[in-house]
Amino acid sequence: MFKWYLPVIALIFGMMLAYCWYLSIRIDKRFSGRRWSIPSKVYSDTTILYPGQKINRVLFNEKLRNLGYRKVTHTLEEKGELRISTSLMEIYLHDFKVPSRYKEGVPVKIRFDKNRITSIVNLNTGQPMSILELEPEEVMLFFGPKRERRRLVSIDQVPMNVIHAVLAAEDHRFYEHKGLDPRGILRAIYTDLRHGSFKQGGSTITQQLAKNYFLTPKRTLIRKLKELFMSLTMERMYNKNEILEIYLNEIYMGQNGSEAINGIGEASIFYFGKPVEELSLAEAATLGGLIRAPNHYSPYVDKNRCRERRNVVLNAMYKQGWISDEELKTTLPLPVKTVGYDAYRKKAPYFMDYLSDQLTALYSPQDLSSLGLKIYTTLDTQVQTAAESALKKGLETLEESNPALSRTDPQKKLQGAIIVMQPKTGYVLAMVGGRNYSVSQFNRITQARRQPGSAFKPFVYLSGLDQFTPASILSNKPVTYEFDGKEWTPKNYTPMAEKCVTVRDALAKSINLATVDLAMQVGIDHIVKTARSLGFSTPMKPYPSIALGSFEVIPLELARAYCPFAADGVLPFPLALKSVLDENGNILEQRHMIIKEVMTPGKAFLMSSLLQSVVEKGTASSLRELGIAYPVAAKTGTTNDYRDAWFVGYTPDILALIWVGFDDGAPIYATGSKAALPIWADLMNALPQYVSGGWFRMPQGVVRGMICSENRQTAAKDKCPHPMEEYFLADHIPEGYCPIYGHANSFERIINGIKGFFNTF
């Protein structure tokens, strides 16, 4: 007998099958490609510590906090714990992986004598360590429009306690049902009927996943049916562990400011500062409890509510037989402990913009916000913090000392910029492109073009080293120069009686007339050529005023041009980006220091020696009063009408450039030594780890000897009354001996001595 309803049933069944087939295509398409958009992360460089090193303990403690180390008072038990006392610090290091290296976290003990590390000991072995490397610090994320943070975990990584906590909280029959849990559905229907609306979900983990991935959050019957079909299809396509893994990576777990925390891996770091593998039972249960309403149960919102919810989960786990009676009893009373967090803010924003410009040449913004790349940089966050702080303090001090510098409009305020580099390698350690990034994103280190003033003079003197020695005499008389039909009469910053000065003194005291005299003898074209060889890209014309830094430069290029003095004559390329890795750890891009010889090591050494005189007896002598007691080479710079104040200073280990001025070119009424130098000193005083106190070794091609201070010729041994030490290029040793004292007999020496004495009056 024909059953009329059979074709209808067959039709409905066929339609359902077709729908499931359609869904399977959608699911396959979604799951076979990238499942999530993961923002790329930018990291600082690693931090190196060694016994004997001086550190800034305030900045170091901040560094540890940023790395997620949490202070404890008990003996170290877990990775990420930190115990601090006055002269001792115990750190249970995190594991970390950087390109080519994996370091397993061990507990270490660092002993201090004030701010000096006296010893580092591995607490596992009791062995002293000669070097310790801390992991890179996460400094920026390339977010997509959803601003989601996610750290992927595989199901094999996730401890059973975490899996059981999640299942106990959300779907304890997950491994038993086929995507739908009839008992759960009945319970939900009952609850919904009682309340007359869709109150309870009763969804299985598979259903939740289907909803999150493919459907809108709107609660309708149609959506529920779709969810049902999709769950059934998913269960046919994937095994339980695959579904659970996707779920654990997908679920929303809370909020950090404008960022969404997604997945159990990210949540583990956000709430407890440790990878999911290291979670305790209490922490696992806390995370399991969060899933239902992450912000409501968040330990950052209400610890008590969070603890109550966690204990519900623990009891559910116990009920399922997943934890023992003892585990339950010992865990229930535990308080909820979190690692704490800082709301996300873009650190080192100007550095990041500089870096982003390089990255966007390699990757599209979409790739950067979705591929989960790891980007390693040369940034030292301690240096960056010190630079930001020094600039802020320096500018505020200037405004306080001269109210004429204060502006109410934030856009027009006094500005400043700092770049810190390692001169040998070109590593950019820090970059502060302005006073306040939120007010102005204009990067005054990489985008500004400003006159360097006297900060350009070293390149004039460098150009002259083939003809002149540090002891050569330059004219300090006023001269009017004519060029292109125009007259130009340079002046000294302060009037000077001396008609002649040595090359060394002229640079040390930044004497304009003597510098122009040198420039004219050397040839302006030659100076332009020197500047080009040092990487200046801005237009420079062969005008005499170039000797006094009248052509605009980019501050980054000015800092770079000083590097060869500190690097045996080698010009490094400024390096900010070190490597880019994909999410599986494969290296996509790697950059190294690139160097080019631009001057002999002898000339570089001589320039450092000349610039050391700037600090010892010249325009930067106030550095000593500001606590800089070690050898430094430096140059101040001030432009016409006090529009710009500069200070560039370096040691063999570090180089920093400071600029202060107004964007609109208004005067700041202060010289480089008054406005920029104190900022440099403040910065360096905050970075003892970069101060070795060493100086450059005299290279081949340079000789040192005594010359007569009166005539700048080789001093007659035991005869010249005021000999002085000087450096020369080996092929520029003074040819003659001191004519005054060299052949003088005793009587002549006395007469010469008396003459010299009276000449001092």
Partner: protein
């Protein structure tokens, strides 16, 4: 008394004192031999650098820490991982810019990567920093020859 007159008077007094003192001193001083004046020009070898300086630096904790990185760099080179070697040697260089071995190994790594220009640059720096270490200088010179061969 005007200031000018005072200055002349003052100069006369000072001259008498200085002249008298010098005469007394001369009476005690040995007679001056009229020979060509001499001074000693110190080169980098005389300047207290040299092997001793290197050894001293090797002993400092900072140099010791840097040497560990240098050693890691060397291992990477042995394992034919020049990029990894360069990365770590750059850190070693930043930590202790005076260790010539870093430059030697950097030259080696660049040689391995086939960038002979950079290899030559680092070899030149190795020569500068290892000039007082005969054993190492020999290696640096051999390396220079190898680079030159590759360039040819």
């Amino acid at each position: 008394m005007g200031s000018k007159a005072f200055l002349i008077h003052f100069k006369a007094v000072i001259a008498t004192l200085v002249f008298g003192s010098l005469l007394i001193l001369l009476g005690c001083a040995p007679s001056v031999v009229k020979s060509a004046p001499s001074t000693s020009w110190k080169t980098s070898q005389d300047a207290g650098g040299g092997q001793k300086n290197i050894e001293k630096q090797r002993m400092s904790p900072r140099a010791l820490a840097a040497l560990q990185l240098t050693e890691q760099g060397r291992m990477f080179i042995e394992n034919n991982q020049p990029d990894d070697a360069i990365g770590i040697l750059e850190r070693a260089l930043n930590l202790n810019p005076d260790n010539g071995r870093n430059y030697y190994y950097l030259a080696e790594a660049w040689l391995m990567k086939g960038n002979f220009g950079q290899a030559a640059q680092f070899n030149r720096l190795a020569q500068i920093y290892l000039k007082d270490d005969n054993e190492w200088l020999q290696r640096v010179n051999l390396q220079k020859e190898r680079i030159a061969e590759k360039v040819r």
